[in-house]
């Protein structure tokens, strides 16, 4: 297999970008990434996106390539619900690793601000089981609320302990110029915010964001010619769990997070203790807490308690979500996995414009559905 590196990254600011279209966002991110990679022309484009049908646009690869002056190259879209971006990076990685293409651009994009909230929440709930969950009217927040209540009861975790995560994310995101929210919050802000789906409060939940991010992948020989600060993809993993949450062996466990982490580490020939920095998928406070446990950074039932004790901050090892995570950087759904990779690449290169944590090895984990489609990527300087 060809060793794959990241030659360039680009991203737009995340937010409710009403005045900007899907094509403007993707062109900006893609062209920035191409410029960052010394102006190289990709041979192919892989697009990560979940819900472009909401803005009545499919056939994204050709739209994005053509808009950016790349008519005639190869490409397609990858979908894995909120994990679409990570899955797209994995697909792009394998296109280069296999030797099929020399240079591949991976672009993640989502445009959610176009429609009223009930349309968007309905779209996001398409990640659930349409026949057996959606017919009851459950939202994506509702599904996560079912998990959160069960988790807190099972492990005796308090409301205050669960609130420590969003407070940390808003502190980190405050420094990130690309973040959706740049505002510090307190534990009581979280606890006193409105209830979306009991026990999930507004500040437990990520925002509905627009945004696009891109990374340029190439074989290591090519990457070394394109940039002086190459970062390599050392390992990748992806695993699936059930779409529905009711047939799970344990609804407070994300087995796909656990399996894909082990797969990526094994693939990279590294251990968890080698990780200096991680960007994980905190769609809700409960998602972050369970992910920390499944990745292996906290024992079962201890994720929230560890965060409340002050772990995972910049300066700790690993530092988790110095970007501010989905909670504060925002969650442009199908782009999030690409943002995570771009952010960790910049951290390892030393040019991330927010909280800098540095290090040699980073991990990204992007989750689709309630832990049902999980991609983990290990990056190494």
């Amino acid at each position: 297999m060809v060793k794959v590196g990241v030659a360039g990254v680009g991203m737009t600011k995340v937010g409710k970008l009403v005045s900007r279209s899907l094509r403007e966002l993707t062109s900006e991110a893609l062209m920035k990434a191409i410029d960052d990679a010394g102006g190289v022309k990709p041979d192919a484009i892989v697009v990560g996106n979940m819900l472009s049908s909401l803005v009545e646009q499919e056939n994204l690869a050709s739209l994005i390539a053509d808009t950016a002056g790349l008519r005639g190259i190869s490409g397609f879209k990858v979908e894995g619900a909120c994990g679409s971006g990570g899955a797209a990076v994995l697909a792009g990685y394998s296109l280069v690793a296999s030797g099929l293409f020399q240079v591949v651009a991976v672009v993640g994009v989502e445009k959610l601000s176009e429609l009223p909230t009930p349309d968007v929440t309905r779209g996001l709930a398409w990640a659930a089981d349409a026949d057996y969950e959606l017919i009851h009217g459950v939202s994506f927040s509702g599904l996560n609320a079912l998990v959160m209540r069960n988790y807190m009861k099972k492990y005796g975790v308090s409301r205050e302990e669960m609130a420590a995560w969003p407070v940390l994310m808003h502190e980190n995101g405050y420094h990130n110029p690309y973040a959706h929210f740049r505002k510090r919050i307190t534990i009581s802000d979280v606890i006193n915010s409105v209830t979306i789906a009991d026990p999930i409060k507004l500040y437990d939940a990520c925002p509905l964001s627009d945004g696009a991010a891109a990374v340029i992948l190439a074989g290591s020989d090519v990457v070394r010619k394109l940039t002086d600060t190459p970062v390599f993809i050392a390992g990748v993993g992806n695993a699936l769990d059930s779409t529905d949450i009711t047939s799970r062996f344990d609804i407070t466990s994300f087995i796909a997070s656990n399996i894909s982490t082990k797969q990526a580490l094994r693939n990279a020939g590294l251990e968890l203790k080698d990780i200096d920095i991680a960007e994980i998928h905190d769609a809700y406070s409960i998602t972050a807490v369970i992910s920390l446990e499944e990745i292996g950074l906290a024992p079962k039932g201890m994720g929230a308690k560890y965060v409340a004790e002050g772990r995972f901050r910049p300066g700790d090892r690993p530092a988790v979500n110095p970007s501010g995570g989905l909670k504060s950087r925002g969650h442009p759904v199908g782009a999030t996995g690409v943002y995570q990779v771009a952010e960790v690449v910049m951290q390892l290169r030393g040019d991330f414009p927010g909280v800098k944590v540095g290090g040699d090895v980073g991990l990204t984990q992007n989750i689709g559905g309630v832990g049902s489609n999980v991609t983990t990527i290990i990056l190494r300087r």
Binding site: Y132, I135, G137, G142, L146, R149, K153, A197, T246, F249
Partner: protein, 135 residues
């Protein structure tokens, strides 16, 4: 919002609480699957779950999805029946019961109107209500 065709296809499973039980390892899955989620065996049989169980977890949804704007707040639970768990709406719950908490509550299945389909038909689905006493 689902199509009327979807409800027509799934009504047998939904109204009869059909799960699958693995003949190899015994794992019960709701929703029913073509193969066992635990051991992968295709040797699964459809079983009808009894209409009585206990609430494992629940939520009150205040931000609705399209098609449920008039059903807010919406009370959704996961109910454990024998070794299976099913997702459903809870009905017949008052403020006092909600304040005390619903986890562990014994509930029974009832046939109720679901929300309108895309084509504005009214489907019937199973919801759960607090179990009647003395049974």
């Amino acid at each position: 919002m689902a199509s009327i065709q979807r409800f027509w296809r799934i009504q047998g499973n939904v109204l009869n609480l059909i799960a699958t039980k693995c003949s190899n390892c015994g794992y019960v899955s709701y929703p029913p699957k073509a193969a066992c989620p635990k051991c992968g065996s295709r040797n699964v049989e459809e079983i009808k779950l009894p209409g009585r169980g206990r609430v494992v977890t629940y939520t009150v949804i205040n931000v609705p999805i399209k098609g449920f704007e008039d059903s807010t707040p919406l009370l959704i639970a996961i109910v454990e029946i024998n070794n299976a768990r099913i997702m459903c709406q809870l009905v017949g719950i008052d403020e006092n019961m909600l304040k005390k908490g619903l986890t562990g509550l014994e509930v029974e299945a009832v046939v109720r109107r679901g929300n309108p389909t895309l084509d504005n038909a009214i489907p019937y689905i199973i919801k759960f209500k607090p179990a009647s006493q003395g049974r």
